[in-house]
Structure formats: structure tokens, C-alpha cells
């Protein structure tokens, strides 16, 4: 089963998301990168070792925008610049609801933009929807298709 990459520096948020995913019944392995640099390093490693079966591309990336070192937007930009990651599903998960951020994220190639939920029930509901839509309903490009572009 392909992993989910969670790029999030806030430990509380990591905890809430893990719990909400469990509650929503998401069973994919979760890899957490606590800043943009880590996320890029992780993805670079997967591309480099793509022949290795133990490191498949993530099913999706849940990307926070406010990150130390490399900003979320820059991570997104970097991802879209990599031929192998061009079709990777990236969902922005941010506390920002500013139009400028939303517009910029879509311009850089985000697949979805979700504003962080204020209450746990809402977060659980959000994760359920992600599972149903992005992990089950949505047909994503295969690894091979992604790499060949």
C-alpha cells in the first residue's frame, strides 16, 4: 500500500491528523516530514531508488504551507518541477484562508486546498472525505505514467 506523506511542523497537528485518519479508517502508512527540506529529501530518495519496491511514490501528499526552512509553496513548486512527481497528488492543508495563498497554490499545481478544521469532529470528517475521494474514488496516474511524462 502506498504511503501518505504528511508535511507538517506542528506536533499537535500531526497528532490530530494521525488520530483523525485512524478514526476515518485510513490504513496507508504515514510518513511525516516536519519541514519542507525533509519532504524534498524524502521524495528525492524515492525518485532515486524508484527501482526499489520498498519505496513507492506516496498515494498523496498533505502539505502545510507555513513551514520552517523551505516553505510549503516552494516544496509544491519543486515537486511540479520533477518529471517523476508531476502527477503526484498534492493536497494543501493550511490554516490560511487567504485568497492569495489559495490562488498561488493552484497556480503552482496543487490538486486541492483544504483549510485546517478548528474542531476535531470536522477534521475527522475531512479525513473521511479524503479517504473516500482521493484514495478510493479518484483515479490517479500510475507511477510509470508519472515518470514517463
Amino acid at each position: 500500500m502506498r504511503p501518505i506523506l504528511l508535511v507538517e511542523d506542528n506536533k499537535d497537528d500531526v497528532l490530530f491528523i494521525k488520530r483523525a485518519m485512524e478514526k476515518a479508517g485510513i490504513v496507508n502508512p504515514l510518513h511525516v516530514a516536519s519541514d519542507g527540506k525533509e519532504a524534498i529529501e524524502y521524495l528525492e530518495k524515492i525518485i532515486a531508488d524508484s527501482s526499489m519496491a520498498g519505496h513507492p511514490l506516496p498515494a498523496l501528499v498533505l502539505l502545510d504551507l507555513q513551514l520552517p526552512c523551505v516553505r510549503g509553496m516552494d516544496v509544491l513548486k519543486w515537486i511540479r518541477e520533477q518529471a517523476a512527481l508531476r502527477t503526484l497528488i498534492v493536497i494543501i492543508h493550511s490554516s490560511s484562508h487567504l485568497d492569495i495563498d489559495i490562488a498561488e497554490a493552484y497556480r503552482l499545481g496543487a490538486n486541492s486546498f483544504l483549510v485546517k478544521a478548528p474542531a476535531s469532529a470536522e477534521l475527522t470528517r475531512m479525513m473521511k472525505l479524503i479517504k473516500e475521494y482521493w484514495l478510493e474514488l479518484n483515479a490517479s496516474a500510475s507511477d510509470e505514467a508519472g515518470k514517463s511524462v
Binding site: 499537535d12 490530530f16 490554516s95 490560511s96 478544521a117 478548528p118 474542531a119 476535531s120 469532529a121
Partner: protein, 639 residues
């Protein structure tokens, strides 16, 4: 002369015979009674031939009537002196005769005849005629002279004046003759106006020729004044040189005086000019040099005249002179040519030259006149001006740089502020969200392990965090309204209101009844701001409702001149009149907090947004009877 025929005095007879004059006597019948040798010589008849003949033999036919009148005068005892007439000789020649006829009386005094003394004046006549002719010739000559001529006798009385003299003095010759010269020829000094001694008087006194006097003004009879030049010369009798009079010759010098004055004035202008005025010949030799040239260039006239003009030209500009001369030779004039010249002490000065060719009477170019103006000062001013301009530009650039710097700093501040709001939004809300969620998790996962009191506390945590989150969101909204750029564009109010109502479930049935009084008039403003205002106002309208009642909100518009007023009327709890003034203030609340959730910022946001759209807002309300909020904005054309 009285003669007696009865006086046989030899002496008398001898005198009579020796006279060259014809001495004849006749009786009252005009018969010749005596005839002397003189008569014989003049008339050709001998005494024998003449005596006894009528005197008429001597009288030409055309003068036949003279004899009776002479006779009748004699009879009356009159004497006729020097009566000039014509008589005929024996051989028929006509002679000019001067007659003196006297009556002859007898011893009783009775007139018995007449004696005639006849002098042949033919020769005298001839001389007289010649004299007259010559005199006439002189007269005509004098009359035709271009100068005025007046002659006087030795007393200074006018004896002659010619036509020019008549014109200049205003006196007719006929009137002037015999008058003293001073009366006719009135002269004063041109400048002092003191009477000038008449040249005639001087000549009469000194007996010498008096030359042309200067600055004499002749005042004519009618008061006309003319500058004249005059001279006087004595008239002397031929032979003994006795002074017989003076001839005065004078001339109107008005014309020449004008020309002279013009020349003088020109010379004065040139001398007094601050510009250097220099002339040179075609060889480039300086021929004249005025005071201005002296003061500008330092050389005196005597130092400069005769020297080559190149004296004044800096070595590196020598070629200019050749070009100037070449142009002048074609008759061209050079105007305001700015260049540099050297003074006597070697200083280079900025000058402006105007050079014109000088032509002689035949039009041949003989040289050039140069007018040279010292423009050092002007050039200095120009340089100063340029410098000032440069400085101004530098200052302007400095200012621009400063403005740029400040703008940049301001921009930086705005960016910082945005970053600040951003971090407020993110960093401040993140922990709130965490508290909220931990409280949620506690309630969800451990709720059954807490008692009612514990669960109530958890609820209090949740409501506090919710309120804090709303507060932060509103503060951010307010600050965004304060600093965002305002765009003015037509906004379809009705569409906007409908969208807002659709967006909020609690604006819809069964939570609320929103009545829109179509059509709502469009306004000109910033759509995002208007959205904020209307959602806040409608939000308040549905929120502040008495328990158990359904909010009823009515939205309408009204045109007021160029403005449009948007009304939001509710059936809510109303506002205490004491609070009406302060409800638009930040964190001000009218309704009791425990009953109605709110941050107290909503109306501040509305007020700020309306202000930024150059609008007005207001409220009418009564406790228990609902409120009517309105905002007034510039209207827009209906699309």
C-alpha cells in the same frame, strides 16, 4: 543865372564865349537873339546863321510841345534848372542836353526874353547808362547769390538786400531800405541768447573784414530762428578808400547744423556707449576706438588705433578673424556672434560681436565696424543658472531617492504588517485550534470518565476558544479592511445580497426570513468590502432576536441624489438609545454577552469599510422594536 542883355561888359562877354556850354538868348517869340561859341560848337550853327531864327530849329519834332510850356513858365518868371532833354544839331544829330532856362527882364523888370544854358550831356549819359548797366549787373549778381546779402551805407542804414536776405530776415527790400541794419538783421548767440554785436557795426568801427561767426541765431521778423553763419566786409570808395558802407553776407546753416548735430550726437552715442565700438580697415587695422572699447579691453584709443585687430583675439581663435573678414567682403553682417577676446592685461572675456561692413560713397567696402558687448556677466549668470539647475536636479533626484526609500520602507512596513497578520492568523490560531481539539478529544475519548462538572468545564474551554478564534478572525478582517486597496467599480447590489443569503444557512428558512425588495439599486464601490458590510449587517439582524422569534429581515435601497442608501431592517431586540452612539466603535457591544455571541468588531468593520468607500452609515432603533441600519454609497448606472 540872371543876365542882362544891356550889360555890355567885356568880361561877361569873354566868359560867355569861353564857356563850353551853349549860352543862347531868345525873345518871347522864341526868336534866337544871341548865340555864343559854345552854342556854335554844340549845335553846328554859327551865330550869324542862328540869330534871328526861331529856337525851334534846335527842337526835334517829337518834342515840339516843349517850347510853348517852357515859354509859358518863363513868362510867369519861373526858372528851369537842369532840364534834361534832347536837341538837334545843324547836321541833324540828336544830343542829350541839360537845359537851364532863366527869364530876361528889362530895367523895369518886365520879362522880355530868356537865356538858355545848354550842356551837351550825351557823353555823360553814355557813362551813366554804362554805370547803370554795370550796377544792374552787380545787383542781379548779388540778388542771385545763394547767400543773403545786405549792403548798408556808412551809417549802417540798409541800401540793398537780395531775395535770400529777404527770405531769411522776413523783411521786404522796399521796407528795409534806409532802416538801420539792427532793425532788420537781429542776431543772438545760439546758446546764451545774448545779443551779438552786428558784424556791420564791427566793420564800421574797425574797418576790417569780419569773418564767419559761429553759433549765431538770426531771429526773423516773424520770430523764426535760424542758425546762420555771417561775415561782413567794408565798402570803400575807389581811389581814396573812404568807407562808404558795409556788405553783409550770411547763410542759413540749419541743414548743415542738423547734419553736424547728428554727427555730434552719433559721436556722443558712440563715446558714451558701454559697448566697445571699434572700426577697422580691410587690412584688419584698427581705425577707431571708443571709450567703451577702452574700458572693456583696457587699451586707450591711442594705444589701439593703428594696431592689428588680432591684438584682441586669443591665438586659438585667430581663424575666426579670417572667416569674419571673408563674410564682410561679401557685404554680409555678422550678428551676435558669441566669442572670447583678450584684454590688455591678458584676461579672456566673453563677448558678443556684431560686425557690419563700412562702405564708402561708391558702395565699396572699406572696412568694418564692430560692436562688442562684454557678456562675461551674462555668461556667468548662464553658468550659475546651469549650476543651479544641476543642483536642483540633484536635489530632485535626492528627493526622488528619498521618496523611493520611504516608499520602500513603507512597503516593507506593509509587508511586515502583512507578515504579522499572517503569523497572527497562523501562529496565534494554531494553538487555539490545538486547545479546541484537545478539548474535543478529551470529550470524545474520555468523556465517560469525567463527571458532569468536568464535562461542563470542557464545554467552557470549547466556547472560549471558539470566541477567541472568532475574535482573531475579525481583527484580521478589520485590519485587512483598513489597509487593502479600494477599487471603485459598479456593484450589482441585488446579486451580491442574493449570493450572501445563499452562502449562510442561518440566513435561510427556517432559521430566518430575508425579504429583498427588488430591484436593489447598484452602487459604486469595492465588492469585497460591500460583501463584508452586508453579511455583517444581515448577520447581526438575524442574531439579535428575542428568544422564540423568527428573524425577519427586510433589505431595500433608495436613491438619494447621486447616492444610494441600502437599508437592512430587522425585527430584533433593538438597541438602547444610550448605546446608539457607540455601537460602531471597536469592541463595543450593546446586547448582553451571555445571551448573544459576538466579538464587538463586526460593526467597526462595517464602519471602516463604508468610510473607505467614501460612504456614510447610520442606524435607527428602538428597544424591543427592531433596528434599521443603513449605509449610503455612490450610485452606479443600472447595467
Amino acid at each position: 543865372m540872371v543876365a542882362s542883355a544891356h550889360d555890355p561888359s567885356r568880361l561877361l562877354s569873354a566868359i560867355i564865349d569861353s564857356s563850353d556850354d551853349a549860352i543862347i538868348s531868345k525873345n518871347l517869340n522864341s526868336i534866337i537873339t544871341s548865340w555864343n561859341k559854345g552854342a556854335e560848337k554844340i549845335f553846328g550853327y554859327t551865330a550869324q546863321e542862328a540869330i534871328g531864327q526861331p529856337v525851334t530849329i534846335l527842337i526835334p519834332e517829337d518834342r515840339a510841345d516843349e517850347e510853348p510850356s517852357i515859354l509859358s513858365r518863363i513868362r510867369r518868371g519861373e526858372r528851369i534848372d537842369h532840364y534834361e532833354t534832347v536837341r538837334r544839331t545843324k547836321d541833324g544829330r540828336l544830343l542829350d542836353i541839360s537845359l537851364t532856362v532863366s527869364p530876361i527882364r528889362d530895367e523895369h523888370g518886365t520879362i522880355i526874353g530868356a537865356s538858355k544854358i545848354a550842356r551837351d550831356i550825351t557823353e555823360q549819359r553814355l557813362i551813366q547808362n554804362k554805370l547803370r548797366e554795370s550796377e544792374e549787373q552787380y545787383r542781379v549778381t548779388l540778388a542771385s547769390i545763394g547767400d543773403g546779402v545786405i549792403a548798408t551805407d556808412e551809417q549802417g542804414g540798409v541800401t540793398f538786400m537780395n531775395a535770400v536776405a529777404e527770405t531769411l530776415t522776413g523783411w521786404k527790400k522796399e521796407e528795409a531800405l534806409g532802416k538801420p541794419l539792427e532793425a532788420i538783421f537781429c542776431i543772438v548767440n545760439e546758446f546764451t541768447r545774448a545779443p551779438v554785436e552786428n558784424p556791420v557795426a564791427i566793420v564800421l568801427r574797425k574797418g576790417v573784414v569780419v569773418g564767419m561767426a559761429n553759433h549765431t541765431m538770426l531771429i526773423a521778423r516773424d520770430g523764426t530762428e535760424r542758425p546762420i553763419a555771417d561775415s561782413g566786409a567794408p565798402i570803400r570808395e575807389t581811389g581814396n578808400g573812404t568807407l562808404r558802407g558795409v556788405v553783409l553776407v550770411f547763410r542759413d546753416v540749419t541743414e548743415s547744423r542738423i547734419a553736424e548735430m547728428a554727427t555730434q550726437r552719433l559721436a556722443a552715442v558712440i563715446e558714451s556707449s558701454d559697448d566697445a565700438i571699434i572700426s577697422k580697415n580691410l587690412d584688419g587695422i584698427i581705425t577707431s576706438w571708443n571709450k567703451g572699447a577702452e574700458s572693456i579691453l583696457g587699451y586707450s584709443s591711442s594705444e589701439a588705433v593703428g594696431k592689428p585687430i588680432t591684438l584682441l583675439i586669443p591665438p586659438e581663435r585667430r581663424s575666426e578673424e579670417r572667416e569674419i573678414m571673408a563674410k564682410l567682403r561679401t557685404g554680409e553682417r555678422i550678428q551676435h556672434f558669441d566669442t572670447v577676446r583678450v584684454t590688455k592685461n591678458g584676461k579672456e572675456i566673453d563677448v558678443s560681436l556684431t560686425i557690419s561692413p563700412i562702405k564708402d560713397l561708391s558702395g565699396q567696402i572699406t572696412g568694418a565696424s564692430k560692436i562688442m558687448r562684454d557678456i562675461s556677466e551674462r555668461k556667468q549668470i548662464e553658468r550659475d543658472l546651469r549650476e543651479a539647475k544641476q543642483q536642483l536636479q540633484t536635489r530632485a533626484e535626492d528627493l526622488e531617492n528619498k521618496v523611493r526609500e520611504r516608499t520602500a520602507r513603507l512597503q516593507e512596513m506593509v509587508t511586515e504588517l502583512e507578515t504579522f497578520s499572517y503569523s497572527v492568523s497562523h501562529d496565534l490560531r494554531a494553538p487555539i485550534r490545538a486547545i479546541q481539539q484537545y478539548a474535543d478529544i478529551l470529550a470524545e475519548d474520555y468523556g465517560d470518565k469525567l463527571d458532569d462538572q468536568g464535562r461542563a468545564y470542557l464545554k467552557r474551554i470549547t466556547s472560549s476558544t471558539t470566541r477567541l478564534d472568532a475574535l482573531i478572525r475579525d481583527v484580521l478582517t478589520y485590519s485587512r479592511v483598513v489597509r487593502s486597496d479600494v477599487r471603485f467599480e459598479p456593484v450589482d447590489t441585488e446579486r451580491l445580497v442574493r449570493e450572501i443569503v445563499e452562502q449562510y444557512p442561518n440566513f435561510q428558512a427556517p432559521h430566518a426570513e430575508i425579504e429583498i425588495e427588488s430591484p436593489l439599486l447598484p452602487i459604486t464601490g469595492h465588492e469585497a468590502f460591500l460583501t463584508q458590510c452586508l453579511s455583517n449587517l444581515i448577520g447581526n439582524a438575524v442574531k439579535f432576536i428575542a428568544p422564540g422569534q423568527t428573524p425577519h429581515v427586510r433589505i431595500s435601497t433608495e436613491r438619494r441624489g447621486g447616492m444610494v442608501r441600502i437599508y437592512v431592517q430587522d425585527n430584533g431586540i433593538g438597541i438602547d438609545p444610550r448605546d446608539l452612539d457607540r455601537i460602531f466603535g471597536m469592541f463595543e457591544r450593546s446586547a448582553p454577552e451571555q445571551k448573544y455571541e459576538g466579538t464587538g468588531i463586526g460593526l467597526s468593520i462595517v464602519r471602516k469599510a463604508v468610510e473607505r468607500m467614501n460612504g456614510k452609515l447610520g442606524v435607527e432603533s428602538e428597544l424591543g422594536k427592531g433596528s434599521l441600519f443603513w449605509i449610503e454609497l455612490t450610485g452606479a448606472e443600472v447595467k
